[in-house]
């Protein structure tokens, strides 16, 4: 059965289809693509021979909008890119602009930023775990993950008033002082959380079915990962020990002790283990940070109207999904000349074709889930 | 009287389904009517107190072999078969053969049960399953084993042929 639709931009269609090859379209509306992603698969029976990701369904022109907003006005927009981990987006942007201004957030602000960002990392991984498990058929972990995520979102709401698109940070530091009981709540969450991760691990890690569905699926070796520019847990699961929190420390990460989990094979199971371990390490960082938040001002002296000197800066952070980078070019006015975002999901999605080739159709959903993409970031 | 009515019901069902099966143009409908024919035959077996045969007919014939038939029909390109002529130039030979067969059956019924070999008496005893099992594993052991080996050979052949394609 051949279904050849001529589509100028797609080179999957123009190759000659063999007797058994069909093209399967996982359309933009699909329960398991985690957003409006369109995947075209060329199948030979059950096996994926070629694949193509068609993106852009969520493109909102964020980078163009940046050219017409002042630096502070643009800050809420970055939350909407990776809307699952808004706090990290804000951190990257604020630090990039601070670099441009040659300013630095005061120590107290840096530590609070670290705590909130690590909590956001846990929340992002929890959402990833819940939805990934749901795609593979485990109906229960998603509810447990959201129960924990709820606790984190409550902390965010108490801190800055919003749960999802938080706009928690400002250029130069923080706007809001931490609320009474912030440290206690963070510590209590972290204490309860260790047991919860063990709960998820009990359900999944040793489970034959889970292992059977994820081991050996979507293998990405280290050389390919580096060549494709993949970062984040996907890179670390393939064997490359690279984490910007250790390699190029920012915020307050150089003050804390934590490990960078890596695995060897680079299959879905390894990525699962890496992210589970990362949640544990984030918890560790939060506990250390919450013990000892320095006192002092929360905002640096950057002035009300931001007019960075002309120049350019590239600053990247280790977001939950990978290296999130901001390349900002300033022409000396209050509005940036160009803001270019390096979204981790977009770059990681390039590895999808490599991972999906040769795998079975039923594994495609697992592979999309394991890369952990957010379409808001992929399309901007 | 009641049992007569039941027999006529099953017999009518079997004959009707058989006629419908060979006259349907839609091949899936034909397969479904073959299924009902087999079920009616199973009903007749039950009436003759051959309860083991009744369930085995359903499990194996209807639940196994006909499932295979239906699978194959559904996976094969049906448009070709829909356009095949139902009654083609072989119908004269087929008609003649049917007449000959009918004449033989009529003759056999007219002559009476004396001509047919007596059914093995032990199959008619109360516990039909036990009786069949006994007979199979004592008197008819060799044919049973030969049939098993035949089936095994067929299975292995099918698996080998399927694997080679992959």
């Amino acid at each position: 059965m051949t279904d050849v639709r001529k589509n100028g931009s797609s080179d999957v269609c123009t190759t000659v289809l063999g007797a058994d090859e069909i093209i399967l379209n996982m359309g933009p509306q699909h329960p398991s693509t985690h957003g409006v992603l369109r995947v075209k698969l060329k199948l030979d029976g059950e096996r994926v021979v070629d694949s193509e990701c068609i993106i852009g369904y969520l493109h909102r022109g964020v980078e163009k909008i940046a050219e017409h907003r002042s630096y502070q006005q643009f800050a809420p927009y970055v939350d909407r890119m990776d809307y699952v981990a808004a706090v990290s987006n804000g951190l990257g942007y604020c630090e990039a602009v601070e670099k441009l201004l040659n300013a630095e957030a005061p120590p107290r602000a840096r530590v609070v930023r670290t705590i909130l960002t690590e909590l956001q990392r846990i929340a992002s991984h929890l959402l990833w775990l819940g939805t990934h498990a749901l795609d593979i058929g485990a109906l229960t972990p998603v509810f447990y993950c959201f129960r924990e995520r709820e606790e984190i979102l409550k902390i965010f709401e108490k801190y800055c008033g919003a749960r999802l698109t938080t706009h928690a940070f400002r250029i130069g530091g923080l706007q809001y002082e931490t609320y009474d009981g912030f440290e206690e709540e963070v510590k209590r969450f972290c204490q309860d959380f260790a047991q919860k991760i063990d709960e998820y691990e009990t359900l999944l890690t040793e489970n034959r079915i889970w292992v059977g569905r994820t081991k050996g699926v979507g293998i990405l070796n280290a050389a390919d990962a580096i060549a494709l520019g993949v970062t984040g847990p996907v890179l670390r699961a393939s064997g490359v020990k690279w984490d910007l929190r250790k390699a190029q420390p920012y915020a307050a990460y150089d003050q804390y002790e934590f490990d960078i989990p890596t695995r060897e094979t680079g299959d879905t199971y390894d990525r699962y283990l890496v992210r589970m371990e990362e949640m544990r390490q984030s918890r560790r960082i939060c506990l250390q940070a919450a013990e000892n938040i320095p006192t002092g001002p929360i905002m640096a002296k950057v002035g009300k109207v931001l007019k960075p000197p002309p120049g350019e800066v590239y600053h990247s952070i280790e977001a939950p999904k990978g290296e999130l980078g901001y390349y900002i070019v300033s022409d000396g006015t209050t509005q940036p000349y160009r803001v270019r975002v390096r979204p981790p999901s977009f770059i990681n999605l390039q590895a999808f074709d490599k991972m999906a080739r040769g795998s079975l159709v039923a594994d495609v959903v697992a592979i999309i889930g394991t890369i952990d993409i957010v379409l808001g970031e992929v399309d901007r | 009287m009641f049992s007569q009515a039941v027999f006529y019901f099953f017999a009518a069902l079997a004959v009707t389904s058989a006629i419908l099966m060979v006259t349907r143009r839609n091949i899936i409908h034909g397969a479904v009517f073959l299924i009902t024919t087999l079920l009616a035959t199973a009903g007749i077996f039950l009436q003759l107190d051959a309860e083991f045969l009744f369930v085995v007919q359903i499990i194996l014939y209807v639940g196994g072999i006909m499932v295979l038939f239906v699978f194959v029909i559904m996976l094969v390109n049906l448009d070709v078969s829909m356009r095949l002529v139902q009654f083609n130039h072989q119908r004269f030979v087929a008609g003649a053969l049917a007449l000959v067969l009918g004449a033989q059956v009529f003759l056999a019924l007219k002559v009476g049960p004396g001509v047919m070999p007596h059914p093995a008496q032990q199959i008619m005893s109360p516990k039909n399953t036990e009786a069949v099992g006994d007979a199979l594993f004592t008197h008819y052991m060799l044919p049973f084993e030969i049939a098993s080996i035949l089936l095994l050979v067929a299975m292995i052949g099918a698996v080998v042929m399927a694997k080679r394609r992959v």
């Binding site: 329960p31 485990a138 079915i209 050996g216 079975l360 | 899936i28 083991f52 699978f71 516990k127």
Partner: protein
């Protein structure tokens, strides 16, 4: 009253009454099992489940049924009309037909066939046609492939489940469902304790046969391959659903009859009497159980947030106490009545426990991929079932022909079978995908 009925139809009256009862009660029961599933699912997922329609969501099945009945009946234009109409009917009919041989109690059975067990298996295997014809009638290539896959899964696991049953059958010595339970009463032990591997094989096979998780890929992978139910909406869909849940109850009934002692109470041969009365201690269990549940309901009543929920909880407690009283009263009734009532109670308890296991498994495990599923069926379950049959047969021969101690033979053969199972499971661990990736490069 019985003398008013002409003698020719007397033997048919009671079975017809039972059949009507079953056909009337079963859809309602299936609906409430759906509600039970949703509540149990919610409980395992740290939430409440349906609470809105009726107190504690108790009227939810009725609301769902009404909704489905009122939905527009859509028949796809290109579909094969005859098959489209017939397919759900086949599923439901076969599911309901299997109840004819199911013994709910010592006297509550529509037909005690000599080959009752095989009859139920035969009828279950006919249910496959409902799926296959439904997939065909949808006139969609993917729908058809999904249906054929589902049917292939059913056929494979039916073999395994049947072989699992054979081990129980060897112990019982008869295919008649009533005789099987009687054999357990005579031997004084539930067959699960004698042939646990057979029970395990049957458990896994029955989960796959009813298309439940973790074997529900043909149903749930509707993202890539549409399932056979896609084109069905409204009442036709509810027929398929009813067939699925009726099938679940059937397999639970078979497992109960064959392995869990049917309508027998636990320890059927221990006749400890209660304080010197004629009442046996273990026979008082049903009323004690209901009493405990009733008291627990009363304890929960003050904690309900809403007035009507309080009322319903108290009513449930009252109902349990009433049932406890009825169970206790039946102890002093003629033996047939007592056996009937208590038999029905124990049968339902065991069926519910088996169904709870189904639900529990569904919400704990992820789903198997189709090739892994077939691999598990053919390369693990069927060999294990065969070895188990050999084991149980050997145990029986050793006991009966050579006079060995029953417990010893059972333990030895059980250990051997478990050894084979472990070996088979370790064989299974090589992941298929690694091989796939290797020759993809």
């Amino acid at each position: 009253m019985m003398h008013l009925i002409p003698p020719a139809i007397v033997p048919y009256v009671l079975p017809v009454v039972y059949a009507l009862v079953i056909v009337a009660v079963l859809p309602l029961m299936a609906g409430y099992i759906v509600l039970l599933e949703r509540k149990v699912m919610a409980d395992m997922q740290a939430r409440l489940g349906p609470m809105r329609v009726g107190p504690h969501g108790l009227l939810q099945p009725i609301a769902d049924a009404v909704k489905l009945l009122l939905k527009e009946d859509i028949v796809p234009r290109e579909a094969d009309r005859l098959m489209f109409y017939v397919a759900p009917l086949v599923s439901v009919t076969m599911a309901l037909l299997a109840y004819a041989a199911m013994p709910f109690g010592p006297a509550f059975q529509i037909a005690d066939l000599n080959v009752g067990l095989l009859f139920i298996l035969a009828v279950s295997s006919l249910g496959i046609y409902g799926i296959v014809l439904g997939g065909w009638a949808s006139n969609s290539h993917y729908s058809l492939l999904g249906a054929l896959r589902s049917a292939a899964q059913l056929v494979s696991y039916e073999t395994a489940a049947g072989l699992g049953l054979v081990s129980g059958l060897l112990l019982a010595g008869s295919l008649s469902m009533k005789d099987i339970v009687q054999a357990q009463a005579d031997q004084g032990v539930w067959f699960i304790l004698v042939a646990p591997i057979g029970f395990f094989v049957y458990l896994v096979g029955s989960i796959a046969e009813t298309n439940r998780a973790p074997f529900d890929l043909p149903e749930a992978e509707s993202e890539l391959v549409a399932g056979y139910m896609t084109e069905y909406s409204g009442f036709r869909w509810s027929l398929y659903f009813l067939a699925e849940y009726a099938n679940m109850i059937i397999v639970a009934g078979i497992a109960t009859t064959l392995f869990l002692g049917g309508w027998l109470r636990p320890f059927p041969r221990i006749h400890e009497h209660l304080f010197g009365t004629s009442v046996e201690l273990l026979d008082a269990l049903p009323s004690l159980i209901f009493l405990a549940i009733g008291l627990y309901c009363f304890r929960l009543t003050p904690r309900q947030p809403v007035q009507i929920q309080k009322f319903v909880m108290a009513a449930a407690g009252g109902l349990c106490l009433l049932l406890a009283g009825a169970m206790a009263a039946s102890l002093f009734a003629p033996p047939t009545v007592m056996q009937g009532v208590h038999g029905g109670f124990w049968f339902m308890v065991k069926v519910m426990a088996y169904l709870y296991a189904f639900l529990w498994i569904r919400f704990t495990f992820p789903r198997y991929r189709f090739d892994q599923l077939m691999r598990l069926g053919w390369r693990f379950l069927i060999p294990l079932a065969l070895v188990n049959v050999i084991g149980v047969g050997t145990a029986i021969v050793l006991q009966q022909q050579w006079g060995w101690n029953p417990r010893v033979t059972e333990l030895v053969t059980l250990a051997a079978t478990i050894g084979v199972a472990i070996w088979l499971a370790s064989e299974d661990e090589k992941p298929v995908a690694a091989v796939v990736a290797a020759d993809g490069e």
